[in-house]
């Protein structure tokens, strides 16, 4: 019993909730603002989506099945597919009892059932609509404050017209224990950075585990592009770390590595 149990595997499945249902996303951040100052922001929790679902005029065995989903997964999770919303999967559970109400002979209605997404749960298909569902997490926020942390080593901030953030955070790339890191709340991520003829290679870690290497070399200075994508990541608060490898492409004239921006799946 897990994400493998799908409530509504097809668009015509009888357990599909009535469309469209309310889709909420509880606040996961803090704000603080002085009288005339900027609104500071900090992500603090990893709560997921919250749906308010209705099933009107269902047959008795469908109502019983919905009730079974509540009972069975009170302490676990199952998959629900938003067929109207592009077929995106969500993994979670009903957090309020399913209480069918009779409407006519053999017909029942179930209303206001809350489905809460569960952080940390594996998924059959992880969110993958990078165009519509992902957001940019840039090196600097809109107030100009740097959000990427220099954990160790020397990292230099500099304006860069080719960077997605407008700035890059550069490291000499020769000390393999140097690190820059960024914490986000969401699912998978894409690592974006400009490339050029004098850049080296680095490894990227997700929550402390390497998920691949990136090569910042290109024959000509090139605007930011996606260098690495890690899609199959459960909802949660994750730390992405960039660490130099002290290696470079044979054609590169340097080993400098860059932090520019992440694209994070929400």
């Amino acid at each position: 019993m897990s994400q493998l149990e799908v409530l509504n595997p097809t668009p015509t499945h009888p357990l599909n909730p009535d469309y469209g249902f309310q889709k909420k996303r509880p606040l996961t951040h803090l704000n603080a603002k002085g009288n005339q100052g900027p609104a500071y922001f900090r992500e603090i929790t990893d709560q997921g989506h919250q749906f308010s679902l209705n099933w009107i005029d269902k047959l008795a065995h469908d109502a019983r099945r919905l009730k079974w989903y509540y009972e069975q997964f009170r302490k676990g999770f199952f998959t629900i597919i938003d067929h109207e919303g592009g077929g995106r999967h969500y993994v979670g559970r009903f957090t309020q009892p399913v209480e069918p109400v009779p409407t006519s002979h053999n017909h029942w209605s179930i209303q206001q059932v809350t489905f809460d997404e569960m952080p940390g749960a594996p998924m059959l298909i992880y969110p993958n609509n990078w165009q519509e569902d992902a957001i940019w997490e840039c090196l600097l926020n809109d107030w100009g404050d740097r959000e990427t942390a220099a954990v160790s080593g020397t990292w230099t901030l500099a304006a860069d017209a080719l960077a997605r953030s407008g700035y890059h955070f550069a490291n000499g790339g020769t000390v393999v224990t140097d690190q820059a890191a960024y914490v986000y709340a969401g699912y998978g991520f894409q690592f974006w950075a400009p490339t050029g003829p004098a850049y080296g290679q680095a490894t990227i870690l997700l929550d402390g585990t390497s998920v691949g290497n990136v090569d910042f070399y290109s024959a000509n200075a090139t605007p930011a592009a996606m260098l690495l994508q890690q899609q199959n990541v459960s909802l949660g608060i994750h730390t992405v770390t960039l660490q130099p490898l002290n290696t470079k492409n044979a054609a590169s004239s340097g080993r400098t590595i860059l932090w520019d921006a992440l694209k994070v799946m929400r």
């Binding site: 704000n31 009288n35 100052g37 404050d145 942390a149 960024y182 730390t239």
Partner: protein, 233 residues
């Protein structure tokens, strides 16, 4: 304040932590010296400043917009010790480390000197100014609250810890007494805690008086003025 006349004043807080580093926080970002001169310039926290994307050109004339509120400042004619409350945001910073939480763990703000001002934007003058010392009341996820005490606070003073007495209050031979004479079983060496038997007069721990009682008063010592007591009974 704004409801009575003109714009709301800008709140400015200058702090010197116990290690000498200074901080300038306001209810808005200000970088307009000498209109807003900081009154407690000190040593900038260089390590923290180095991590900023856009460090101010002049740290001592820049106010970071971290100050959320300040209330409870009272001025009375009495010597009442009042403590105000100053709230500073604890949200900004990079995604790994909050600015204020990092500063609080790296420095000592307990007892830090502060100067709080309400600055009138129209008049370009401070309408209210108070100096004192900070105490850390609470450090929350969003807000850190300091208590702000006045510089003059008699509650902070220690009273006289010893009894006022003509006899010395030190134990014979301890560090404060300083006598190195043997404290033998015959009690020949120890003092009687009196001035006349003290071995270390320069450390005598009693209060001396200058009254002398002559043992055999002569005529000169006796008042000859006649006093008539008038009593009711």
């Amino acid at each position: 304040m704004a409801s009575r006349s003109g714009p709301a004043p800008v709140l400015l807080l200058d702090v010197i932590a116990m290690d000498g580093t200074s901080y300038h926080w306001g209810s808005t970002a200000i970088d307009e010296a000498p209109i807003y001169p900081s009154v407690l310039p000190g040593t900038p926290p260089t390590a923290w400043l180095a991590g900023l994307a856009n460090p101010p050109a002049n740290y001592d004339t820049h106010y970071f917009p971290w100050l959320l509120s300040a209330s409870g400042f009272n001025q009375t004619r009495a010597m009442r010790a009042v403590s105000a409350s100053i709230s500073v945001q604890n949200v900004s910073g990079n995604t790994l480390q909050r600015d204020l939480a990092g500063l609080l763990s790296a420095r000592t703000f307990e007892g830090a000197l502060y100067c709080f001002r309400e600055f009138n934007l129209v008049k370009k003058e401070a309408e209210f100014e108070q100096h004192g010392r900070l105490t850390l009341n609470s450090e929350g996820e969003r807000i850190c609250t300091f208590g702000a005490s006045l510089l003059f606070n008699p509650n902070d003073y220690d009273g006289q810890p010893f009894t006022v007495s003509e006899t010395c209050q030190w134990n014979f031979g301890d560090r404060r007494c300083g006598s190195t004479a043997a404290n033998d079983g015959a009690f020949s060496s120890p003092c009687d805690n009196t001035y006349t038997t003290c071995h270390q007069l320069n450390r005598f721990g009693g209060y001396l008086n200058t009254v002398v009682f002559p043992t055999n008063p002569g005529t000169a010592n006796v008042s000859e003025n006649r006093v008539e007591y008038r009593r009711l009974v």
